[in-house]
């Protein structure tokens, strides 16, 4: 099939796209060529510029430089509406639907079929929705509100929306990240049938098996730049990984051997109905334990329950043999547990507050004297910790939002390391930060383990898991399915367990 279309003019080309946000260069040389009737894979590490490229295609960001051409014609999108008018549909990892409105209305918002007096033709709209769903082979009630739809169903609604305006280009940004195996299969079937009908699909994923199974060609990006575009048949996983990382993996993970002590954190039979089930494990002093698995496997939920942010139905969490009360974050902190959360901007930091306030927020009581907290104490303390972690700051009184992603993450780390934790839980510690800072964060984690801290790391990046962890715990659909020792852990064993196939191989 691809051979037929190779000679045609590409549906979409992007050349030399640049995009900077202040001092952050998110995209330095974005290139892309999409042909009709192909599924085009886009891979790269977090922070490689994929999301920015997607937003350029979606019309959300206007590129600072570079040319976007549709069907050979240079085009300026001028906003999301313009992108849609040009036939580009974008499906985000977490779709943006209107929760209060029905599925039908969500699909046709702003483009409803009309009848006399420019009224909305509700009957036609529902009929078309039925047709679209039939075409996609899914069963969603067109009249139900979008609120409460699973992510997979929301994506299907977004795809139906794209079909409804005959999108020529469909961009899917990590659509499978939160889907179960069955849902992924259903999505692939839909994508393949879209390809048959001549659409160009840009498919972004972290899972190589999916990219290799689905895509015709693959573009690799690194550090905001285009690296290569090749037919998938001419590539191996190893080649792609090397192009993505651009250096030897071992350099990145300066793991030093440490003396492993007694178990500090014990989790027994932790259960929350529908989220995770009977999770038991322990983390010893001086040890880095990775919690691996697919997005949506319940890893973040488990660590949040351990830390007391979320409640759990049964089971127990012990630190140094002392049982932590359920859902009491303050008690967990007092017992020496710290959590560097997954979402830096929403959970890790108060973006509008000064750097110094963020660093000292966890210790506002211990820094106070007679209940009073002066700016000088805060500044001195923040100064000490930001220097210790080599955070590049202009002024400590600047809002933390002015820092780059990597430096923001260091502030989160400072905020928690300063509490002198016995158990440090880090959820996606290096998501979206630059390669240099990544190595620093990893070195820091090693060092902490060396000092006897028990480190529990949730990570979706396999190289990180394999490079850092002494033991790998793998979760699949809310259960802890496998524990793999460092020597036995490799990409294959972890991925098999994470996709729920450990027993079968």
């Amino acid at each position: 099939m691809p051979e037929q279309t190779t000679n045609d003019t590409p549906v979409l080309t992007l050349a030399g796209a640049r995009k900077s946000f202040g001092a952050v260069h998110a995209l330095l040389d974005g290139r892309l060529e999409l042909r009709a009737g192909e599924v085009h894979g886009l891979v790269g590490e977090n922070g490689a510029g994929k999301s920015t490229l997607v937003k350029v295609l979606a019309g959300v960001h206007a590129p600072d430089e570079g040319v976007l051409a549709l069907g050979g014609q240079p085009t300026v999108l001028g906003g999301p509406a313009g992108a849609r008018a040009a036939g580009i549909a974008v499906i985000y990892q977490e779709p943006t639907l209107f929760p209060d409105l029905s599925v039908t209305e969500n699909i046709f918002m702003g483009r409803q079929p009309l009848r006399g007096l420019r009224r909305i033709d509700t009957a036609a709209m529902r009929r078309r929705t039925r047709e679209l769903f039939a075409q996609l082979g899914v069963q969603i009630d067109p009249d139900r509100p979008a609120r409460g739809l699973s992510i997979a169903d929301q994506q299907l609604v977004e795809i139906a929306k794209a079909l409804s305006f005959d999108a020529r280009v469909l961009v899917m940004d990590e659509p499978t990240a939160a889907l179960s195996g069955v849902e992924v299969e259903r999505l692939f079937a839909v994508v393949r049938s879209l390809r048959e009908s001549g659409a160009a699909i840009l498919f972004i994923s972290h899972r190589f098996d999916e990219v290799f199974a689905l895509c015709d060609r693959v573009t690799v990006m690194r550090d905001g730049r285009w690296v290569s575009t090749d037919p998938v048949a001419e590539l191996t996983v190893g080649q792609v990984v090397r192009r993505m990382v651009g250096r030897e993996v071992s350099q990145l993970y300066p793991r030093q051997d440490t003396q492993v002590g007694d178990a500090v954190l014990r989790v027994r039979g932790l259960t929350r109905a529908g989220v995770f089930d009977a999770v038991s494990f322990e983390v010893r002093a001086g040890e880095i334990v990775a919690l691996a698995g697919l997005v949506g496997a319940g890893r973040s939920e488990v660590v949040r329950a351990v830390f007391g942010v979320d409640r759990y139905d049964s089971g127990e969490v012990l630190v140094d043999g002392q049982r932590l009360p359920r859902g009491r974050l303050a008690a967990a902190m007092a017992a020496g547990v710290a959590l560097v959360p997954e979402d830096r901007r929403q959970q890790g930091l108060v973006m509008e507050l000064p750097i110094e306030r963020n660093v000292t927020l966890t210790r506002r009581w211990s820094l106070s004297r007679l209940g009073l907290l002066g700016p000088r104490v805060e500044r001195e303390d923040a100064h000490r910790w930001t220097r210790l972690l080599q955070v590049k700051v202009g002024h400590l009184s600047d809002p933390v939002s002015t820092l780059s992603g990597g430096n923001q993450q260091k502030v989160v780390l400072a905020k928690w390391l300063s509490t002198n934790p016995k158990v440090l839980i880090v959820d996606e510690p290096t998501r979206g930060i630059d390669v240099g800072t990544k190595a620093e964060v990893h070195r820091l984690m090693s060092q902490l383990a060396g000092e006897g801290v028990a480190v529990l790391m949730v990570s979706s990046e396999l190289p990180e898991v394999l490079g850092m962890a002494d033991r790998v715990l793998v979760m699949h659909e809310g259960r802890l399915v496998e524990e793999i020792a460092r020597d036995a852990a490799d990409e294959e064993s972890v991925m098999l367990a994470a996709t729920g196939q450990a027993g079968r191989s």
Binding site: S20, G22, A23, V309, L329, A330, M333, L339, P341, Q346, Q347, G348, L349, V350, M351, E352, L353, P354, R357, T360, L361, T362, R364, W365, L367, S368, G371, L372, L373, G374, H395, S397, D398, P399, K415
Partner: protein, 322 residues
């Protein structure tokens, strides 16, 4: 840097306040008299008092529109208790308890049931005001002993400054210290900017907000006690509409309606500006209606101003080459 940038608005308010005072002293007869200032301070007291906890509430991203109704209910209950022969020294703690209860109801609906405080307190605004009519009807209780009512408007010896104003100033210092120089204050700013990040930092958001509503209720009932004593009259409609003046003063003082930003000093300046301007215009025989226009315009300027300024700043920054 940030402190300076955030501070610009309060500085501006203080500057405008100074300007108003100077201009009025020159232009308005009787403005620069101690008698006028004595009355002005008496007018400031209820609004300033309620503005203190309201500042904290708005900084956490919530709002309490029921304060004036709590004031009215307190006044009505005072009247009824007095009619039934309760002595005033006993009435005072009872009224404060009532305020605590009213605040707790607000807090429960907002933090316990997770309802928006705007809707909840519009509801309790009607509820508490309604209850004050139920308690006292349209009667006025005005036979409080002068030994009490006179005391509350008494100036400090040798001055025209009412002693209650000093008490309010003392409370303002307490609230200011709590907001700007204690761990609690840090938590309030954090949750006002981002509830979730505050929770992840070990702050009990719901509990803190609940107690804030309770404190607000208690302070509003104290304001009700003062109001009743000052005008020597307990009525169900006492302080009706005061909530808008309080919110206006707080926002004028530079507190962001979205939460997370503001200073107590700015709020005090805002309250003073509002009342000074009003009383000065009154003194200058400007009709009362113009005052209303001035209040509203000030409120709008107080939110449009910082927004427009920051938009301008953004635009300039973007134009500058990276």
């Amino acid at each position: 840097m940030v402190r300076k940038r955030l501070g610009t608005w309060d500085v501006l308010v203080v500057a405008v306040l100074a300007l108003v005072v100077v201009a009025s002293s020159v232009l308005v007869d009787g403005f620069a008299t101690s008698r006028f200032w004595g009355f002005l301070l008496l007018d400031v007291i209820p609004i300033a008092l309620i503005a203190l906890p309201m500042t904290l509430v708005i900084i956490t991203g919530e709002i309490d529109l029921s304060v004036a109704s709590v004031l009215g209910l307190s006044s009505a209950v005072m009247g009824q208790l007095w009619l039934s022969g309760t002595p005033l020294p006993l009435i005072l703690p009872l009224v404060v308890l009532l305020g605590v209860a009213c605040g707790a109801v607000n807090g429960l609906f907002v933090t316990g049931f997770g309802l928006p405080s705007l809707a909840v307190t519009i509801g309790t605004l009607a509820l508490y005001r309604g209850l004050s009519y139920v308690v006292l009807g349209d009667r006025a209780v005005a036979d409080f002993p002068f030994s009490w009512t006179g005391t509350f408007i008494e100036p400090l010896p040798g001055t025209t400054v009412p002693w209650v104003a000093l008490v309010v100033l003392g409370l303002a210092v307490v609230f200011g210290v709590v907001l700007h120089a204690t761990p609690i204050g840090r938590a309030l700013f954090a949750m006002g900017n981002n509830d979730q990040a505050a929770t992840f930092s070990g702050i009990s958001v719901a509990k803190t907000k609940f107690w804030l509503f309770v404190v607000t209720g208690a302070v509003a009932s104290l304001a009700g006690f003062f109001w009743t004593m000052r005008y020597a009259s307990a009525r169900a409609d006492n302080g009706a509409g005061l909530e808008l003046a309080v919110v206006a003063a707080v926002l004028l003082g530079g507190v962001s309606i979205f939460g997370g930003r503001g200073t107590l000093g700015g709020v005090l300046a805002g309250v003073l500006l509002l009342i000074t301007l009003r009383n000065a215009l009154q003194l200058a025989d400007v009709p009362a209606d113009t005052l209303t226009v001035v209040t509203g315009t000030l409120l709008i300027i107080s939110v449009v101003g910082p927004n427009a300024a920051s938009m301008l700043r953004d635009r300039l920054r973007r134009r500058r080459p990276a």
